[in-house]
């Protein structure tokens, strides 16, 4: 049985502290490849940098099941050198510019330190403090004299992984949680399926890696392991919060629909029925805005029945997000239990 224990938490820490902004996933890929040693028959890296892994089952009549988790994270790219160690930058992936000033960052492969500076309170007027600082006005400041930093280098938040009681606090929980979950499922694949695991690149900028991975694998069905925002704090005025997306502590989030995908209803039933039968808590992610690798996978070739299962976490795509250990454990448990029950009969009748 796959589990989340100290080893998995250590690995999550290592992965969250690694830097892998979309298009530059080498550091996480290296860790993933090392973890895969001895656990899969076929491991390859494709043209876009996806890690593609195959594990053949032993049962009769096996479904080819693609599981994907993305290795990349949101971050920044340095685009102009203003001299004196000041760099203009662009955001990579969905980022709220209001969240950026005052954050420490790490730049490039060597994790060189820098900071996204902002004028301190002593030197701003009350009127100025009401305004949002536009991206054009922000700089990454590394101090003068460092010649190792180059235009085109990526940067990401310098946040280090921490635990606080039941909480996991880190940058890039989206989707390093999924990466560790997928590694666990590669090591503990149920024998009734052929597992096609994709550790994908460039999800945050449009599920680009998943598109080519799904084409290459051509699976019978796909399950995407991701992390989704929770906005579950109560309203300040006591009003009922009706748009929380997900809530911490209620277990893995099962997708019915997001911007890019309608989950295959047969898979929605399979996962929720498994959860009920196994006594694993789960919640529906509120249908609405957002997207995962499933958006690209389900439209690959002649179509692939797909679903996404996410670990809920607060403050996604910011310097520090928070997830609950229990939600992560239940996500892995639900995935493993659901894969174990998969048979070709699930897809024998028409999608409905």
């Amino acid at each position: 049985m796959p589990t989340i224990g100290n080893a998995q938490l250590k690995l999550l820490e290592k992965l969250c502290n690694a830097c892998a902004v979309s298009g530059d996933e080498g550091e996480v890929r290296k860790i993933v490849l090392a973890e895969l040693k001895g656990h899969a028959e076929a491991v390859r890296v494709d043209a876009l940098g996806n890690v593609l892994v195959t594990r053949t089952g032993t049962g009769k009549k096996r479904l080819k099941v693609m599981l994907s988790a993305h290795m990349d994270e949101v971050g920044f790219m340095l685009v102009a050198d203003d001299g004196e160690g000041l760099f203009r930058f662009e955001t990579v992936g969905g980022m709220d510019v209001r969240q950026l000033p005052g954050k420490a960052v790490l730049i490039g492969k060597d994790h060189l330190p820098g900071v996204i500076g902002a004028r301190p309170i002593h030197l701003t007027t009350a009127e100025e403090r009401k305004q949002k600082i536009p991206l054009d006005a922000l700089r990454i400041d590394i101090g003068p004299g460092d010649t190792q930093v180059k235009l085109g280098d990526r940067a990401t938040f310098a946040t280090r992984f921490q635990r606080s009681g039941p909480a996991l606090i880190a940058k890039a929980l989206d989707d390093r949680l999924g990466v560790v979950t997928l590694l666990e499922l590669v090591r503990n694949t149920p024998a009734n399926i052929d597992l096609l695991a994709a550790f994908t690149v460039q999800e945050e900028i449009g599920a680009r890696g998943a598109r080519v991975a799904a084409y290459a694998f051509n699976p019978d069905l796909a399950v995407v392991l991701d992390a989704t925002p929770a906005h579950d704090l109560p309203g300040w005025d006591g009003e009922e919060n009706t748009s929380y997306n997900t809530k911490l502590g209620l277990g893995p989030a099962v997708y019915v629909a997001d911007t890019d995908t309608f989950s295959d209803p047969r898979l929605v039933r399979h996962f929720t029925e498994t959860a009920r039968a196994a006594g694993i808590p789960c919640q529906f992610r509120q249908p609405g805005a957002g997207g995962t690798d499933a958006g690209a996978i389900h439209k690959a070739r002649a179509g692939i029945p797909s679903i996404s299962i996410s670990v809920p976490h607060r403050y996604s795509h910011t310097a520090a997000s928070i997830a609950r250990l229990e939600d992560w454990k239940n996500s892995l448990a639900l995935l493993h239990a659901s894969l174990k029950r998969l048979t070709p009969e699930l897809l024998a009748s028409d999608r409905a």
Binding site: Y244, D264, P287, R301, G303, R351
Partner: protein
């Protein structure tokens, strides 16, 4: 044919949940197709004939899905908050009625508006199904509904919800029934999830791998008071699409359609639609590329619960489609 149109437009099947309409269409086409299959995304794919020496493999696409709503939250008093499936216009919501897939009816209204000159946003709207608590509300998060509105026959005009694109489905079904002989291997594809991004056409075009593709869909008109500047009107015949917001129709297809209409003395209009697109875009971009075009049925008030078409335009669309498919195609 009006009976068929009524039957199709009064079926509830929003994007992603096309099971009901698929069953209706399958029943209609079964006696006329050589083979029928359903693909991974739920597209209904019917083959008629096989490729002769002078024939092509032709894919026709009409989408089965319609715009709808999906529940995102049931509040403590049993009111349902929702998100849109496809291009929902908030202005057309308030006071409208919906029906969920299990038959549950409901009415749409909104939070009290402080500024009555403004249209409520989707977030301000809710559905009331007559429940008084979360517990006795029969609707769950993720359940879907479509607009409830009966079909109306005005003689030369017809009004219904989901004319977009059940009218295209009706034209294809009628053409499949009427078509006597064809040199082509024809795939009548009733697609899914068009309204959310041509998803069904994307996968079915890959699966069918056609030599030529044609979608049959609705297009907007410019013939209403202070309407958009557009040279398409109800009653002036099927529209031959030259361009829309997502596709430049293959000029050879445009010429073929116009030649055929003129030869058969079927009225037609040239269509340039500035926004929106159809399944033809997805077909055109499939695999290594496919010559594609679109036969459009002019439709007023698209994406409202009351969409209007002209009966003669519909009949002429069937005639044009049959004429197009009956003879060899020389692009």
């Amino acid at each position: 044919m009006k009976k068929l149109i009524q039957n199709l437009t009064e079926t509830f099947s929003p994007s992603g949940y096309e099971t009901a309409i698929r069953a209706v269409i399958r029943k209609e086409i079964k006696p006329f197709a050589n083979a029928i299959r359903v693909d991974a995304l739920g597209n209904l794919i019917a083959r008629k004939g096989s490729k002769s020496k002078s024939g092509l493999k032709i894919m026709l696409a009409g989408h089965m899905d319609e715009i709808g709503l999906m529940a995102t939250h049931i509040d403590e008093n049993g009111f349902i908050r929702f998100t849109g499936l496809g291009g929902i216009r908030p202005a057309a919501l308030t006071g409208g009625r919906v029906r969920f897939m299990d038959g549950t009816p409901g009415v749409i209204n909104s939070d009290r508006l402080t500024d009555l000159t403004k249209t409520p946003t989707l977030e301000q709207c809710f559905i009331d199904v007559g429940a008084s608590s979360q517990k006795d509300c029969p609707v769950k998060v993720g359940d879907v509904c479509a607009f409830e509105r009966p079909f109306l026959d005005l003689g030369n005009r017809m009004i219904a919800k989901s004319m977009d694109d059940r009218i295209g489905c009706a034209v294809m079904i009628e053409a499949l029934r009427t078509l006597k002989t064809s040199p082509h291997e024809l795939y009548f594809v009733f697609t899914t999830q068009e309204e959310v991004g041509l998803r069904g056409a994307t996968t079915s075009a890959f699966g069918v791998d056609p030599d030529l593709g044609l979608s049959v869909d609705v297009t907007a008109t410019g013939d209403t008071p202070k309407g958009s500047k557009m040279e398409v009107s109800l009653g002036k015949g099927p529209a031959v699409k030259v361009k829309d917001g997502g596709m430049l129709a293959d000029p050879r297809i445009v010429n073929w359609m116009i030649r055929t209409a003129e030869k058969a003395k079927i009225p037609y209009q040239r269509e340039v639609l500035e926004g929106g697109t159809t399944d033809a875009r997805a077909i055109q971009m499939a695999r290594a590329g496919v010559p594609a075009g679109c036969l459009s049925v002019p439709t007023r008030y698209v994406h409202s619960p009351s969409e209007m078409v002209d009966t003669r335009d519909v009949q002429n669309s069937v005639k044009l489609l049959v004429a197009l498919l009956s003879a060899p195609v020389d692009l």
